[in-house]
């Protein structure tokens, strides 16, 4: 038996952290910390041109948001042309960076940013998306989350929380305890598994947000196995997390058919998805993660002897029908419908 090497030891691609958050949430303060603190990492920062305050550092580049549709018939399959350009130029420099941090505008949709790392081969060969980190202003985020948008217009604050792998709950000194508790519950209702890091003046241990490996298939769901037990449904929110745990082995063909049709029908509404699956006949765990319609999957570690074959799946998205998802997933079990 050979234990597979942790992926990080082999992956020499430069990790990229995407920083999202509304205007005033403290992104600039955090970027300034990243650039001035003595953390021993060479970090290139790409700042958006609508930054709250200019940051004095040679590595800061301006970015004008340019969202491009891909010609593959999928309307949610968009990339950021400006990022492809800037990252391409950055990687041609002789000085090598240990890490790249991209600040997006307060109104940015995180999906095209994330999809850029999967859709562009040149980027994917040199860089890996490490994590989406969202800064939240504890005192003001509720009003952003509650803002009623016109039909068809996204609430960006909700979207940025839904996409996040880490949430920095900033400015806790400016909010009372009750508000902070409310904010934390709202965050959990949208994104049940996300790590929330309370902070004042964006003072956090950078190791908690850099090199997180949130998109690393080897680390899928490793972050927080307890996410499935979260059952906060008290809020009237259309963006939620659905976690499903299912015992048994899955029929690969039925799983592919179900996931395929789910992504085709609901891809626009599925922001993030992750899973560890037991495929009938496969000695290894199948792990995947996805952004909208883009799925990245591979076989991970071996199932251990005597280890129960358990499937774990989590979706974060809009208007998710938990019952339908549970039913559809259960129908993928190799034993399902065996009597027919």
């Amino acid at each position: 038996m050979t234990t597979p090497e942790p992926r990080d030891l082999r992956d020499e691609r430069v990790p990229v952290t995407v920083l999202t958050g509304f205007l005033g949430s403290g992104k600039t303060t955090l970027l300034n910390r990243v650039l001035t603190e003595n953390h021993g990492l060479r970090i290139a920062v790409i700042e958006n041109e609508f930054g709250e305050v200019g940051i004095d550092d040679a590595l800061v580049l301006d970015a004008e948001e340019e969202i491009f549709e891909m010609n593959n018939g999928c309307i949610c399959c968009t990339v950021r042309g400006d990022l492809i350009r800037i990252l391409g130029a950055l990687m041609r420099r002789r000085e090598k960076f240990d890490h790249i941090l991209i600040e997006t505008t307060g109104l940015a949709d995180p999906a095209p940013v994330a999809q850029t790392f999967f859709m562009d081969d040149e980027i994917a060969s040199q860089l890996r998306l490490d994590a989406i980190v969202t800064l939240v202003d504890a005192a003001h985020v509720l009003q952003h989350l509650d803002e009623v948008k016109p039909e068809g217009v996204e609430n960006e604050a909700v979207e940025q929380i839904a996409f996040a792998d880490r949430i920095v709950l900033n400015k806790t000194d400016l909010a009372d305890e009750e508000t902070i508790g409310q904010v934390a519950r709202r965050i959990r209702a949208i994104n049940a598994g996300v790590h929330v890091l309370p902070a004042q003046h964006a003072a956090i241990d950078l190791r908690q947000v850099l090199d997180v490996g949130a998109f690393d298939l080897e680390r899928v769901l490793a972050d927080d196995p307890s996410f499935l037990t979260e059952t906060e449904h008290q809020h009237d929110t259309t963006v939620t997390s659905v976690g499903i745990e299912l015992h048994g082995e899955l029929d690969e063909d039925r799983l592919n058919a179900w996931l395929g049709s789910l992504l085709r029908a609901k891809g626009v509404d599925l922001f993030r998805s992750k899973g560890i699956l037991a495929i009938a006949g496969a000695p290894k765990q199948y792990v995947f993660q996805g952004v909208h319609m883009l799925l990245d999957g591979t076989f991970g570690r071996d199932w251990r002897e005597g280890e129960p074959r358990t499937n774990k799946l989590v979706f974060i998205g809009r208007d998710l029908d938990r019952e339908a998802l549970e039913r559809g997933f259960a129908d993928c079990l190799a034993t399902a419908g065996a009597a027919a």
Binding site: F68, E69, M70, N71, G81, I84, R93
Partner: protein, 341 residues
Amino acid sequence: MSTAVNSPLVWDVAVDDAPVALSARGDLVAVAGAEGTVKVFDAALGAEIGSFELPGGALRVGLSPDAGSVVATGPTGYALWRRADGRTTVRESGAWSAAAAWADGTRVAVASGRRALVLDVGGGELWRTEAAASTVTDLAWMRQGRRLAVAAYGAVRCHERHTEKPLVTYPYVGSHLALAVAPTGRWICSGNQDASIHIWRTRDGSELTMSGYPEKVCRLAFDDTGFWLAADGAPDVTVWDFSGGGPEGTAPRSLRCHETVTALAWRPGAAGHLASGGDDGTVALWHATAGRPQARLRPVREIEGTGAPVAALTWAGPHLLAVAWRDGRIRTHGTPSRTAL
């Protein structure tokens, strides 16, 4: 037969930057680096005859047809250098300047954010286009410098001189990364983010898409005759036949040498000779139009590199090939025979 005799090393210099682009015209070769260092060399001897800096880094460099000026463009602006007195004009606009193209020895078009600016050799603005849908990615002159083709997201737009609005728009939903216009003026081609080449026949605007490339198409170029288009987008360089009715329904020749193509340059002339460079540092020379359509060709010769990826290739006339590697090494190789490589 020794390869060293066929493509002897002519000169070899190193620059203190990571080269990203080369240009050669007349008796000069210019190289631009990622950090913005631009150096101008005598093509015959490799002696440095000038240099300038573009703050914010460089993406492209272009010598004017009379070798009297150099333009460099980069992520935060552009710069012009005049050979006669070494005067440098730097414009730090803050806008992304992806490309530049000389109309003749006196006028140069420079991409600047979502616009193209047409400048005189001193950097004075003669006219500008209106804003395109996104940052301009590439430029090309048509009709002997009377019409400017501008590529950006969603379309290639053609402007007559001193007209802000395009006279002709060639729409195609997609991110056009590179532009090639046949010297005959018959075809406009764009390399695309969606791993395709889009082609317009200028006469009637009829379109054709060559899709199915494994990767985005970033580099494409017509040879001097306008009958042949070479493109990346795959480990193989593909060469399409644009003679007669064009490439519709035909298969390209495939040139197999590199894992990832990083540079392409047709040798001046009508012989169909092409140089290509790869991520592995090798340079290959090809009779790129030999054989039948769909043929998979092998290089006539390979030139050993430094181990670093090839950053750029350009021909300084038919008898001198200049190569820049990512580690800062610039070499020129002679190709004495007119008919052979």
